[in-house]
Symmetry: C2
Subunit: 395 residues, 2 copies
């Protein structure tokens, strides 16, 4: 039995991971880290009987205990906050840690898992965006493997299997283009929360769905790819492919292109990350070529989707700039989800934060966290200013 | 300097091989085998100065000698016929032999190259169709490698690089569908030689272009794939993909699909076969995603294209049946190119030959050659009967 821990077990990737574990067999779920979705977590505990669970805070812990008090097996140890997530991420028995929290909260726990030499199945791209340098260094030093769960990076990982790094000319990430691919700049500016959450091909969490609508998700993925596979910004391209059938491609020096295709279900990538280097039979229906019938490709429109250009810019600047970009984006997206700003305000807030950010080299965790905090504060200030301006206009 | 020999140097693959060799550098062309295109061969000799050349017969040899008598370097040794091609295929210095003759003529020379332990860059699919068992056995015993130059098999070879055989569920060969993909059965029956030679995506020799129009080319490729990669008929699928951008795909047990894409220029596959396991920079423009814009896929229509079904049938029967299929096809295609039969007569002749063929296990070269000869005689008889019937109708 392979032992695994899951950070973010009640989210979309977390739940799918448990489905894969259930289907595959041969896995023991030793620790689960969640946030506030205590009902779902209680169900997961009943089914998978972990030894350890982490929740957001004491209130959540109490509620969880109430819900599982009738549990006839050993009640798991319950821990809270970031320290709790770190405990889940470094559980001694766990060989594989699925890092599937959303945003910066998974950052330190994931780093600790890598330092502890765990295989990390990484769905939390913000982690690499914030501190790819630290993460990959930790993995190198401990001998930990990072297996990407993002479908694009998972595809790249598959394409790169038989290839030598120096014979790969560039990585090509596909982007669905999100719900606003065919919309005008004006339509995007006035897009509602519901429109932005209506992703054409993937069913995912709210934050990543908004990131997909602005193409920031692809920008974060470009930065993620830089760290996962050691390619420079110039060697990573993005092509819009609305059907999301081709999950990504690599171009070789001899002009050959290798692509990975599949159905749009995260369980594929999760299973791959859990079973690598082996491949196991899958519970999903395979891709039906007769049904896909048509695949299209087009260049991304950086004017309509400035977030993608901002991400490339942050990657080229390097140091703490990607962490600042990521922090500003998290604040701005949350404000959009809270109906406080328009979709088109997101890149404006990010750009404003980037313009003020004093880039530092990433020397340690503290540098990154400081950059993250400063950028968040600045983004919140920008938001307040936006709200004041809006209020003034309405007055 | 790597030494190479080319069987079929004046054909489409042969000429492209020399272009690749010229571009790459680091290769020494030690032997060239051609047929009757003496003008082209003389040019090649002037440029590449091989030590040995083979031509069809004495008449060709004399003409060649006349054409290169003013040659200021060492005049190559000139040999003739099948024995000559065998000498080219087994030239002591040659590490790689490009097998690019058309049809059965390359069969014995290619077998001899494999027995001699040469790397064979194989463009002549008939060789594997006739006697895949013998060819792969010879390669195993001598430690020779077979590198496929057919774009589809070359693509499969690339897709399979990082994968384990038992984790591959099936091979998926793409087919352009040829010039008659969207035509009715009646239009195909009455297709002219010119229409059949007008391939939508690939520029190739006459025989293979007709085979593409009947989908027999794909049928031969299914048999070829069986031997190159050790998959059964049930594990090899064909999907029609008119743009010929995706050169082929593999489906893994976990549902993931790996594809190889590229421009439709044989130099890619040739270069790959010459440089494997390395990849080198290429002289061709890479695939332009903005230009391809759309890729489509559909199931092949076995009723409109019975040749594909016949090839699957021959592969399932096994033994000498694929050799009989191949022989009948060669005769029938030549008759079509000579305006003696209609396109729709090709599968009829093949089916008639297959119905009469007494399948033998492939124990040695002689079994295969005997099956080939018997099938050819039967096909020629069928042709004569067809002509008689046609003459009777016209009378």
């Amino acid at each position: 039995m392979k032992a695994i821990s899951i950070l973010g077990s009640t989210g979309s990737i977390g739940c799918n991971t448990l489905k894969v574990v259930e289907f595959l067999g041969g896995f023991r779920v030793v620790a689960l880290g969640a946030g506030e979705n205590i009902g779902k977590l209680a169900e997961q505990i009943r089914q998978f009987q972990p030894e350890l669970v982490a929740v957001k805070d004491e209130t959540c812990a109490e509620e969880l205990l109430r819900r599982i008090s009738d549990f006839k097996f050993q009640i798991p140890k319950i821990v809270v906050g970031e320290a709790g997530l770190i405990e889940v991420a470094t559980h001694e028995a766990a060989e594989t840690v699925v890092s599937a929290t959303v945003g910066a909260v998974g950052f330190v726990p994931t780093l600790r898992a890598l330092e502890a030499g765990k295989r990390v199945a990484l769905a939390n791209k913000e982690t690499l965006v914030m501190a790819g340098e630290l993460m990959t260094k930790a993995a190198r030093e401990s001998g930990a493997e990072i297996l990407p769960v993002d479908s694009e990076h998972n595809a790249l990982h598959q394409c790169l299997r038989g290839e030598s790094r120096k014979e790969v000319k560039r990585l090509i990430l596909t982007a669905s283009g999100g719900p606003f691919r065919a919309k005008t700049k004006e339509e995007i500016e006035n897009a509602t929360r519901q429109e932005a959450l209506n992703h054409p091909t993937w069913n995912m969490g709210d934050k990543i769905t908004i990131d997909s609508a602005t193409l920031m998700n692809k920008g974060l993925e470009v930065i993620e790819a830089r760290w996962l596979f050691d390619f420079s910004a110039d060697e990573i391209s993005v092509v819009v492919h609305p059907q999301s059938v081709v999950h990504s491609l690599i171009e070789m020096v001899d002009g050959s292109i290798i692509a990975q295709l599949g159905v749009t279900d995260m369980r594929h990538a999760i299973q791959y990350a859990l079973t690598f280097p082996k491949r196991k039979n899958c519970q999903l229906e395979p891709l039906d070529f007769a049904k896909i019938s048509q695949l299209t490709f087009e260049e991304p429109d950086l004017e309509k989707f400035p977030c993608l250009a901002l991400a490339y810019k942050a990657l080229k600047i390097g140091g703490t700039m990607p962490a600042a970009l990521n922090a500003a984006n998290e604040i701005a997206v949350q404000a959009f989800l809270d109906d406080k700003v328009r979709l088109s305000d997101i890149p404006k807030i990010i750009e404003s934060v980037m313009n003020e950010h004093e880039t530092q080299p990433v020397v340690n965790l503290e540098t990154v966290l400081a950059a993250d905090q400063t950028a968040r504060k600045k983004a919140i200030m920008d938001l307040e200013n936006l709200e004041k301006t809006a209020a003034a206009i309405l007055r």
